[in-house]
């Protein structure tokens, strides 16, 4: 029972994709939204993985690198198409559907743009249920799928094909993304629709469309539940140490110290490494990855990025529960605290 994401739904989808998304600067977000609107035409077909023929080749499409760079170094417009076509050429097979790697802000819109340009359906679901910093941190990888071969299209016409063992994709990808200008569109995780149906977190696209409907509660964007940890006033933002040096992530670890303004008045520490990895209240662990810990500004209701945290800001700390597969032993190994260098 396929359906069409029209321009109206596109607006709601993009709004829903922002509810718990960090790192979503205004300018790259609007750029991605305008880009999607310009190619959406009559709309993009949304299908479930099960509706596709089992052998249909599905390709995950996502933005890699810095969204800030996207806002500064504008895309030519053909990147998603070039990336998917390159992968098709390598595989000798046409893609039958596009799926998202994750659904945080721009990352939700880029696969939709790809689907519109290639006139392919978009699969309702994603490989995360939330967002992780690494291309390899997906439920697809948990399900045994490999991100490679991976095709990358840069904003200046670059086209690169990566073919390597699964564990090295991130390591090779990162310098390449930097070299092409800080961002790129990747097409990866080529797999049959039958496999996709097994490994994806289903229904998340339609969920975000509902969550983006004006008046919908914030919790509508969290399929597996969300809880408010506490409200806190940021006291200080410090550089942090003690993270496993072997874990290589795109950003430096930092630590945000908050104090509950009322109630128990606990001392809260958010340990961040690319994203908030660990939340302590009076020294006790109250939340960790793979659940998504985010700060929502009490003033404007927007998600506060780790980089934007500054003393004096009052935030609600929310914990968005990750898909059950992330709480399995394998899921924790890939997306738990240890994967972020915190040995609990």
């Amino acid at each position: 029972m396929s359906r069409l994401i029209d321009l109206d739904e596109l607006g709601r989808f993009s709004a829903g994709a922002r509810v718990f998304a960090t790192g979503a600067g205004d300018s790259p977000y609007h750029l991605a939204l305008d880009w999607a609107r310009s190619v959406a035409g009559k709309g993009v077909e949304l299908v479930t993985a099960g509706e596709l023929k089992p052998e249909t080749l599905c390709v995950a499409v996502s933005l890699a690198g810095s969204t800030t760079a996207l806002g500064e170094h504008l895309p030519r417009g053909d990147e998603p198409e070039r990336a998917v076509r390159a992968l098709e050429r390598r595989l000798g097979e046409r893609a039958g559907a596009v799926v998202a790697l994750n659904l945080a802000a721009e990352n939700a819109l880029v696969p939709l743009i790809a689907a519109a340009m290639l006139r392919l359906p978009l699969v309702d679901g994603d490989g995360s249920g939330r967002v992780f910093p690494l291309v390899e941190q997906t439920t697809y990888a948990l399900g045994g799928m490999s991100p490679a071969p991976l095709a990358l299209a840069g904003g200046s016409g670059e086209l690169i094909l990566l073919e390597t063992e699964a564990g090295r994709v991130e390591e090779l990808l990162r310098p390449v993304v930097l070299a092409v200008g800080g961002w790129a569109v990747v097409a990866c995780y080529p797999m049959a629709a039958a496999d996709l149906a097994r490994v994806l977190v289903p229904g998340t696209v339609s969920l975000l469309i509902r969550a983006g409907t004006p008046g919908a509660p914030r919790s509508a964007a969290a399929p597996f539940g969300v809880r408010r940890l506490c409200r806190g006033l940021i006291l200080s933002v410090e550089g942090s140490t003690g993270h496993d040096a072997e874990v290589s992530l795109p950003s430096q670890p930092s630590s945000i110290v908050l104090r509950e303004p009322d109630g128990m008045r606990r001392l809260v520490r958010l340990e961040a490494h690319n994203e908030i990895v660990l939340a302590l209240a009076d020294g006790a662990v109250v939340a960790t990855v793979p659940d998504q810990i985010c700060m929502i500004c009490t003033g404007d209701g927007m998600v506060v990025d780790v980089d934007e945290a500054r003393p004096g800001l009052e935030v609600d700390i929310m914990v968005v529960k990750a898909a059950p597969v992330w709480h399995t032993e394998r899921g924790l190994a890939l997306g738990g605290p240890r994967a972020f260098g915190i040995a609990l």
Partner: protein, 510 residues
């Protein structure tokens, strides 16, 4: 060794003691630190904390100390295990959040700059031999006290520096702060009577007569069972230097009359200005321009206490007055202090004056004993007893007047003086000649003395009627005699004439 130690030296050291007594000197402590330390555990990863025994000092190293998050989690788990404290390298956590968490959890957090492993060794040694750790502190205090010499201020400086977490004050016998910290003085109370959540220790410093010159008082909030006993030992070490200080001050004053006299004057001036301040500022602490600076005032009072002078409480002024001009002041001071005890001796008016804590009666007795020892004929006066030094001037004025009235070799008390004593003190012999001259016109016509007697009776009684009653004659007789007196040239309506005549009559008829 055991003989010199009071009970408590074997009690386990508390966290506060570790920081205060030198084992962790220079470390920053957050939290009460009241828990006893029975052992040490070095923790390099958080999972080890689950096996830490209660009352253990947890020393964080490696991953467990690697970042703020790790230290906070370690504090939490150490708290759950009832550990005595958490010792972390100072780089591990911003101190402000550490302080907040220490306060919230009620666990003590200590930041050290040294290698935590070295710290762990020292803490382990103190935990296993608490008496040795305490003895080490006492030894260090003894060395510092020896270096401080015979200065009360320096001795108190050493005590307060070497006994951190403890306030020490030196109080005079009235409980007034001489040196050290005011908060210890406020906590001064009889030993054993514990303040809420605190303790106190005292040591008395004797004066030369075996009385109490002053008291060393220490107090703090530490709950360590061994600490007060250690502090008491250290205080007793300070008694000898303080006694030496007082003796040296006394010796200097004995040798130098001018020095002690000037000290007495400054003491009086300071007491007077303090009184004026209190009066002008309604008790608020605003220093007037004329006030003696507080630092200086303290020094003056301290010097006075060292000399054993009374500086508080009821005082009585005295004056010793030589009949024929001032003699050797230094000799007078020696003889006066020999009779009265440690009192100031200054030059005042035509004699030597000062004050004593003795009451007027006792002071009179002592002065009566003193006068015969003086090489010159002297009289002495005793002022009224006043409540304190600020009113000493009043008592000294009384003493001066009394001394002026007292006959040679006698002591007069201002509080027992009335008009009769004033009249008695008049130099009648010297006044007799001028009185005869003034009254000559009357005496010439007064063959049998009735006119002089009548004049005296009228002036004494204030009217003819009462004079007639006193003389046993008729009123008209008195009137007739008065007419004769007026005829001799005396104008009894003029008050000055009346006073001069009454004085002359008194001298002539006495």
């Amino acid at each position: 060794m055991t003989g010199v130690r009071a009970p408590g030296w074997e009690a386990p050291v508390t966290v506060t003691e570790l920081v205060n007594a030198g084992t962790l000197a220079g470390a920053r402590m957050y939290g009460a630190g009241e828990n006893p330390v029975r052992g040490v555990r070095i923790v390099d990863e958080l999972s080890v904390l689950g096996t830490v025994a209660p009352h253990t000092a947890v020393v964080l190293i490696g991953t467990a100390a690697s970042g703020g998050w790790a230290v906070e989690m370690a504090m939490r788990r150490a708290w759950e295990q009832a550990a005595a404290c958490v010792i972390a390298p100072s780089a591990g956590l911003s101190e402000s959040s550490g302080e907040v968490l220490a306060e919230r959890l009620g666990i003590t957090l200590i930041f050290v700059d040294e290698d935590p492993l070295l710290v762990a060794v020292r803490v382990a040694s103190a935990a296993s031999r608490p008496d040795a750790a305490r003895m080490q502190l006492v030894a260090r205090c003894a060395t510092r006290l020896a270096e401080a010499g015979t200065s009360a201020r320096r001795v108190l400086g050493v005590l307060n520096a070497e006994l951190p977490g403890t306030s020490v004050a030196f109080l005079d016998r009235h409980g007034l702060l001489l040196a050290g910290r005011r908060d210890a003085a406020a906590g001064g109370r009889p030993e054993g009577e514990e303040a809420i959540g605190g303790w106190s220790a005292q040591a008395e410093v004797p004066d030369q007569e075996g009385g109490v010159l002053g008291t060393l008082v220490a107090g703090g909030s530490s709950r360590s069972p061994g600490w007060p006993s250690v502090v008491r030992t250290v205080l007793s070490l300070a008694v000898a230097p303080l006694t030496a200080w007082a003796a040296r001050e006394r010796l200097r004053a004995c040798r130098d009359f001018a020095r002690q006299a000037s000290l007495a004057e400054r003491l009086l001036a300071e007491a007077a200005t303090t009184e004026a301040d209190l009066a002008s500022a309604d008790g608020t602490a605003s220093a007037s321009a004329t006030a003696v600076p507080e630092e200086e005032a303290g020094a003056v009072r301290m010097a006075a206490v060292a000399l054993g002078w009374p500086v508080r409480g009821p005082l009585t002024g005295y004056q010793v007055r030589p009949a024929s001009g001032a003699g050797d002041a230094a000799l007078a001071q020696t003889l006066i202090t020999a009779a009265l005890g440690q009192v100031p001796v200054t030059v005042r008016g035509e004699g030597w004056a000062g004050w004593s804590a003795l009451d007027p009666a006792e002071l009179t007795v002592r002065l009566e004993r003193c006068l015969p020892t003086m090489p010159w004929p002297c009289s002495a006066g005793v002022g009224a007893q006043v409540p304190g030094l600020e009113a000493a001037g009043e008592s000294l004025t009384g003493a001066e007047a009394a001394a002026a009235m007292a006959g040679p070799g006698t002591v007069a008390r201002a509080d027992e003086m009335g008009p009769a004593e004033l009249l008695g003190a008049l130099p009648s012999r010297a006044l007799r000649a001028p009185a005869t001259v003034i009254l000559r016109p009357l005496l010439t016509i007064d063959r049998d003395g009735t006119l002089l007697e009548t004049l005296a009776a009228v002036l004494d009684e204030g009217g003819a009627l009462k004079a007639a009653e006193r003389l046993g004659v008729h009123r008209n007789t008195v009137t007739t005699r008065l007419d004769r007196i007026k005829a001799a040239g005396f104008d009894l309506d003029d008050p000055a004439t009346r006073l001069a005549l009454q004085l002359a009559c008194h001298v002539m008829l006495r």
